[in-house]
């Protein structure tokens, strides 16, 4: 036999003689290929796909006419079902078959975009349940095969599939499917398949367009309703239920489908506070798990303490019934966890205190002693407690899925939700530390201890569990030192390190290649594109290893995010070499060549992008420790591979590599010289000019570090590479943002302000001051959404969201999805970095510094630079200006954790009680972080030569046009000098800004030498006459120690210079925090 026989049925399928013959042939072919990969390949090579696509499209084309005719319809449906089943079977052949399938036009015919052969028959109102089921199975099979692609280019098949799947009208069909009220096994299967498809396609998708589309189409609400049904069935609803409510729910998911349900919810809500809340606040969820009352949410943490005590004594609270199923944990918390890196004195006095005060443990003055136990209510929604219970009572995949959803919900809400929607986050963290983290680590232990069975079954859920547990753990502990500690206590570091090391063991393939009775050779004449198979996926074992490697790296980077001691422990486990090896990419093309062999017993050397990204993260985390930076990392040779990644083709890799390089270029890094000599400066400058905000922030951050304490030539070349024009424009915020952004009315400033703006919490901001007209641009969209959810299909659907939550959700949605707000937030982040970069260019005190100031003033044009800075210090005119939205802190790696604990009191609020004047009109100013950076630039200019101080003092500015008098303090318009603009800032609620203002005054009055005596005196007089002394004197009584000390220092200088006091005291006039503030990233 020279070549395999082509099945006879193929001929009939390609040229059908009759409908019944064709059905028979399709069935025959199906039986032939099921389970036989070689035959699948054969039929693909002989052009089966074209015939199948024709079958699907014929049917699509005539559907309109045929629907009424019952006789023809059934047979056509049968042809379609059989064709789809064959496609499904082909897709089960793996990744290799996906290429010809997609190329052949199964999802979308090339050149005829409107025709979607497979996706056109998904709507339950017009199609047979069986047909829908088979179609969904087919999509699922394709998505499953695609998820084995380890190294995808940016524009992947998966992307292609998703964009078809989640666009109208297909997505509406999907929504219809999950909204079906019928109770039958077929419907159940359909819903389960939809969940699986969403999970496969979106689990690791970049961006959230499709996630949003799913929410908008109502899929999330329907899923919530089905989950609520399951919760009731399990008897765990936390409140008494109304019969009418129960009957309003969609049929419950069956218990066996718990895993896909939890997985899909985690996938949809991931990283999004809006979608997470949308789940918690959907009527069906609220029905089973009501959210704690709104009044208690408003209370601040301190108030809460007294509040709980009262509650305990006076009213016996109704206990949540979930409490009986959870272990009792005392609500007491001692505050001795220490979570700030002490290795960095650079952070200085300025940064430390407020950063620490953001963390609950430092904010708390005394440990709360209470005999109370933590109640499930404290999570806000009972869903959290329910998930904990599910995780505690199940094993394997179910446990993991429950913990995953729990983790994603907690993390998304922590990062993005403004007000405390849960009573006490500390108690919640405690619960997580005791109940969730150890459980995760135990799951990890279970998967690692058992040897994998010889008989490899790739569907083995243990593999999946093993690959995912570290990821879940990472998301859970990220940004939260107490949870990181909990993970370390549970011995997670050791296990993760072992896992990482093991992932470098050679892969033993259990499955040998298939023997073929026919010598394989390309079939002549059939090599048209579309008839050929794509290269196959890597062997499942190899993929598993890579995923384990990425997961272990991710888990370690999250644990090592903050604490030096954890970093050290990671290093002590000897994984540096693994990290370095994980940073190396596959040589180009090698992956394909390995795949060609199909079975390739040798594991490819190098890593796909998804591993590299995680390796960069861990390198970043480790590099935050100076000692590790100077020992293990340099010894391991981490700089070289990271440098190579800077010019990688993948955006994600580039960004992560830039993040990783940030600490490597610090002045005390031994790798700085090496990287400089390789030309990192030019690369970073190039990246900074890109439009991608993420990329810009990262590379500017790195440049900022590079500029710190660098010789003047380096600094000058940074200015030259970036261009002064670009620097000025970026500082002014004209760089990238849409022109309209300053005028945009933002509906949600307060919502955002309350959450993240911890530095400047202003108590008078009302919780939900929604500017309805402001959201006009988008409200139509929202109305669409609601309207559609209530009306689509003939089937009644549950009302999605109760009215009391709608406004709030809308606000959060705006914050998250409005492109203008996102652009603005990015813009602020970029500005912050540019300002800090300019600051660092002139920050190094020493003989070279004045030269640098001169260079800066000259190259940029002093007038222009000062005008630009002045504009930033000026209050905005008009009350319409949006309140500041502070930059969204980065997900990983900032010194300042994202608003992990929203309910903190801040120093700002204390100081306000002491300055009982009218509240500072913060909303008129730009973001506090930017203000601070601007003032620091001025501080450093004032730290130059005496003439620089004179330039600063004499700098005039165009008067601000008078804003509407009622809201703006009257003083803002009268200033003609740049320096005057800082006067109102002495009463800024942010202590760092008040300190900075005092430093500025101090530096301006600094006397260089005796020859400067008169000059200094003149400056002191001028400052006094401009009213600075009065402001500074007020600061002597400031609530903040640092501010008081600085203010006293200034008063002393005035006394010395003007009243003839000849104090010997001297101090170098720069702010301690003036250097690379927040360099630890």
């Amino acid at each position: 036999m020279a070549r395999a026989e082509v099945p006879k049925s193929l001929q009939e399928i390609r040229n059908p003689t009759s409908v019944s013959n064709q059905i028979a042939a399709l069935k025959q072919l199906k039986h032939d290929i099921i389970g036989h990969d070689q035959r699948k390949e054969l039929v693909v090579r002989h052009g089966i796909i074209g015939a199948l696509v024709r079958n699907l499209t014929d049917r699509t084309a005539v559907r309109g006419k045929r629907r009424s005719e019952d006789d023809g319809g059934a047979e056509e449906d049968e042809i379609r079902v059989q064709s789809i089943q064959i496609i499904t079977s082909l897709a089960h052949g793996g990744l290799a078959f996906i290429h010809p399938l997609l190329h052949g036009g199964v999802i979308q015919i090339v050149d005829k975009e409107a025709i979607q052969p497979l996706l056109s028959t998904l709507s339950p109102s017009t199609n047979q349940p069986k047909l829908i089921l088979e179609t969904l199975k087919c999509i699922n099979a394709m998505a499953e095969a695609l998820s084995t692609e380890v190294d995808s280019p940016e524009d992947t098949y998966m992307y292609h599939l998703s964009s078809q799947l989640y666009s109208k009208p297909t997505i509406d069909s999907l929504a219809e499917i999950v909204a079906q009220r019928a109770r039958s096994m077929t419907v159940d299967d359909q819903v389960t398949l939809v969940m699986k498809i969403v999970n496969h396609t979106l689990r690791s998708a970049e961006g959230s367009t499709h996630h949003r589309a799913l929410v908008k189409a109502g899929v999330l609400d329907c899923l919530a309703s089905r989950l609520a049904g399951l919760v009731i069935k399990m008897g765990l609803a936390s409140s008494a239920l109304d019969q009418s409510f129960i009957s309003s729910l969609l049929p419950a998911t069956s218990r066996t489908n718990l895993v896909p349900m939890l997985e899909v919810l985690a996938t949809i809500t991931k990283d999004s506070a809006y979608r997470s809340l949308r789940l918690l606040c959907s009527s069906s969820m609220l029905g089973v798990f009501p959210i704690a009352s709104a009044t208690s949410q408003q209370r601040s943490d301190d108030q809460y303490m007294t509040f709980t005590d009262e509650r305990q004594s006076s009213e016996p609270t109704t206990t949540n019934r979930l409490d009986y199923l959870l272990p009792k944990l005392q609500a007491v918390q001692n505050k001795n966890e220490h979570n700030f890196s002490k290795a960095f004195p650079v952070l200085g006095s300025l940064s430390s205190q407020s950063d620490l005060s953001r963390m609950p443990y430092f904010n708390e003055t005394q440990a709360m002693v209470s005999s109370r136990t933590i109640s499930a209510d404290e999570f806000g929604s009972g869903l959290f407690a329910w998930l904990v219970i599910v995780a505690r009572t199940t094993t394997g995949m179910e446990r993991l899925a429950a913990l995953e959803l729990l983790t994603h919900l907690v993390s998304a809400l922590d990062k993005n939700v403004m007000d405390s929607w849960a009573d006490s986050p500390r108690n919640r963290d405690r619960t997580l530390a005791f109940l969730a983290v150890p459980l995760l680590v135990r799951v990890m232990e279970e998967t690692s201890s058992k040897l994998l069975p010889k008989e490899i079954n790739t569907n083995d859920e243990r593999w999946t569990v093993k690959e995912r547990v570290p990821m879940v753990l990472a998301v859970l502990v990220e940004d939260c030192p107490s949870l990181q500690k909990a993970a370390v206590d549970a011995n997670a570091i050791k296990m993760l390190c072992q896992m990482l090391k093991k992932s470098f063991d050679p892969v033993v393939l259990a499955k040998k290649p298939m023997w073929s009775p026919n010598p394989h050779r390309p079939t002549e004449g059939l090599d048209e594109d579309g008839y050929n198979l794509h290269s196959a996926a890597l062997a499942p074992e190899a993929i598993h290893m890579l995923r384990c490697r990425a997961a272990a790296l991710r888990g370690l980077s999250a644990i090592a995010q903050k604490e030096d001691i954890h970093r050290k422990s990671v290093i002590d486990n000897g994984v540096v070499n693994c990290v370095v090896e994980s940073l190396v990419r596959y040589p180009d093309g090698s992956l394909d060549s390995i795949r060609q062999q199909y079975s390739g017993s040798s594991q490819p050397k190098g890593n796909p992008n998804f591993v590299i990204v995680e390796a960069c993260r861990l390198a970043t985390a480790l590099s935050r420790s100076v000692s590790i930076l100077r020992t293990s990392l340099i010894d391991g040779g981490v700089a070289k591979p990271i440098f190579a990644l800077l010019v990688s083709g993948s955006r994600a890799v580039r960004v992560c590599a830039t993040d990783a390089v940030t600490n490597l270029v610090l002045q005390f890094s031994p790798m700085r010289e090496e990287l400089m000599s390789q030309g990192i400066l030019k690369i970073l400058c190039n990246h900074a000019l890109w439009a991608d905000a993420e990329m810009r922030v990262s590379s500017l951050w790195a440049l900022k570090h590079l500029a710190n304490s660098a010789p003047n030539e380096v600094k000058i070349s940074i200015i030259e590479e970036l261009g002064t024009e670009w620097l000025i424009r970026s500082m002014s915020g004209e760089g990238t943002s849409s022109s309209g952004f300053h005028h945009s009315h933002l509906a949600t400033p307060n919502a955002a302000g309350q959450q993240v703006d911890l530095l400047n919490s202003v108590d008078d901001q009302p919780g939900m001051d929604m500017d309805e007209s402001g959201s006009a641009g988008d409200s139509s969209e929202d109305e669409d959404e609601d309207a559609m959810i209530d009306s689509i299909g003939e089937l009644p659907r549950p009302i999605a969201i109760p009215s009391q939550y709608r406004t709030r959700l809308k606000a959060i949605q705006q914050e998250e999805e409005n492109p203008i707000i996102i652009a603005r937030r990015d813009e602020i982040r970029v500005q912050e970095q540019v300002l800090d970069l300019v600051r660092n260019l002139i920050s190094e005190a020493g003989p070279a510094q004045p030269e640098m100031i001169d260079h800066l003033l000259q190259s940029m044009g002093a007038q222009r630079l000062f005008e630009c800075l002045a504009n930033k210090l000026k209050p905005k005119s008009g009350s319409a200006a949006p309140a500041t939205t502070p930059p969204r802190t980065r997900t990983t790696g900032t010194a300042i954790p994202a608003g992990k604990r929203p309910t903190l009191t801040t120093p700002g609020s204390t100081s306000q009680t002491q300055t009982p004047q009218q509240p500072f009109p913060e909303h008129l100013y730009i973001d506090a972080k930017l203000l601070e950076s601007v003032i620091f630039i001025l501080i450093h200019i004032a730290n130059g030569k005496p003439q620089h101080r004179h330039i600063l003092l004499s700098q005039t500015t165009t008067p601000t046009p008078l804003p509407s008098v009622t809201t703006t303090p009257p003083f803002s318009s009268q200033y003609t000098h740049l320096i005057d603009l800082t006067l109102p800032l002495f009463s800024h609620p942010g202590r760092r800004i008040r300190v900075a203002c005092c430093w500025l005054v101090h530096n301006l009055m600094w006397m260089e030498d005796q020859s400067d005596a008169n000059g200094a005196k003149g400056r002191a007089l001028e400052l006094r006459s401009r009213g600075f002394e009065e402001e500074v004197r007020r600061c002597v009584g400031d609530g903040d120690l640092d501010v008081r000390e600085r203010a006293r220092g200034c008063i002393e200088v005035w006394g010395r210079l003007l009243e003839g006091g000849n104090g010997e005291r001297s101090g170098l006039g720069i702010g301690g925090g003036g250097r690379g503030g927040g360099w630890e990233r």
Binding site: H31, I34, H92, D189, N459, M514
Partner: protein, 253 residues
């Protein structure tokens, strides 16, 4: 006080454990559900329907799905493997596509049937048919795993050795019990695909009972020395049925 005297008088030899058993009568509905579950899982559609009527169970069994499973089971047990495979594929094409072990087991069964034909009529056509089948259907996969390869080799040996010289291991292959075993696996695979537990609940119960008894004895709990698994009335009188004690597996076939 008085109650205990009374009960002690009424049943002087009664063990307290048995009294507790009596007090905890399981509900009729639960028992019925379990019986129904057994009938459905094990594939007795007619009995299931009748039982549902008699016991007044609302949820009627999904006749068709049971019937298909029974048909497939019968096809395998009667050696009609090709038709069984096609039926499985019609029911759910993914079952065999994703479970190569099960598919291989079925194909091997089919090969055994072909070889069985040869032993009755060793015509060249029959022999070559068996060899072709093995080459086309089984051998490509046999090379992927050691277990498959051994299975295939053993099966092919049947073709070479006459029926009376077979090793016990090989003659196992010709016994109908192999069909039964594969049929059970197929049944379970179908149930699993349908998202159901693959085993009748009552089997699980019996095992749980056995486990509980073992645990109780291991920790010296006060249980009667002789706990019977009362499966039917006949056992009641056989006091010496020690074999059943603590051996719940006896029921599982």
């Amino acid at each position: 006080m008085s109650t205990s005297t009374v009960s002690a008088a009424a049943t002087p030899t009664r063990h307290p454990f048995e009294r507790r058993v009596e007090e905890n009568k399981p509900s009729k509905t639960d028992i019925n559900t379990v019986i129904m579950d057994y009938l459905i899982k094990e594939g007795y559609p007619d009995s299931a329907r009748k039982f549902a009527m008699e016991a007044n169970i609302k949820q009627k069994p999904d006749d068709e799905s049971i019937r298909t499973r029974v048909e497939i089971k019968h096809a395998i047990q009667s050696g009609n493997i090709q038709s069984a495979i096609e039926k499985i594929n019609e029911l759910n094409p993914e079952i065999l596509d994703l479970d190569s072990t099960l598919h291989f087991a079925l194909l091997r069964l089919q090969l055994i049937e072909l070889i069985r034909d040869c032993s009755s009529d060793a015509s060249p056509e029959n022999v070559s048919q068996a060899i072709t089948f093995a080459t086309q259907q089984l051998s490509p996969r046999a090379s992927t795993s050691k277990a498959f390869l051994e299975d295939l080799q053993q099966t092919m040996a049947l073709l070479v050795y006459p029926g009376d010289t077979l090793t016990p291991q090989m003659s196992e292959l010709l016994k109908p019990s192999l069909r039964g075993e594969v049929a059970d696996r197929v049944n379970q695979a179908i149930l699993r695909r349908q998202g159901q537990s693959v085993e009748a609940k009552i089997k699980e119960w019996v095992r749980a009972r056995a486990w509980a008894e073992k645990e109780a004895r291991a920790s010296h709990k006060d249980v009667p020395a002789n706990l019977k698994l009362v499966l039917d009335g006949d056992d009641e009188d056989e006091e010496s049925d020690d074999g059943m004690n603590g051996n719940g597996d006896a029921m599982i076939t």
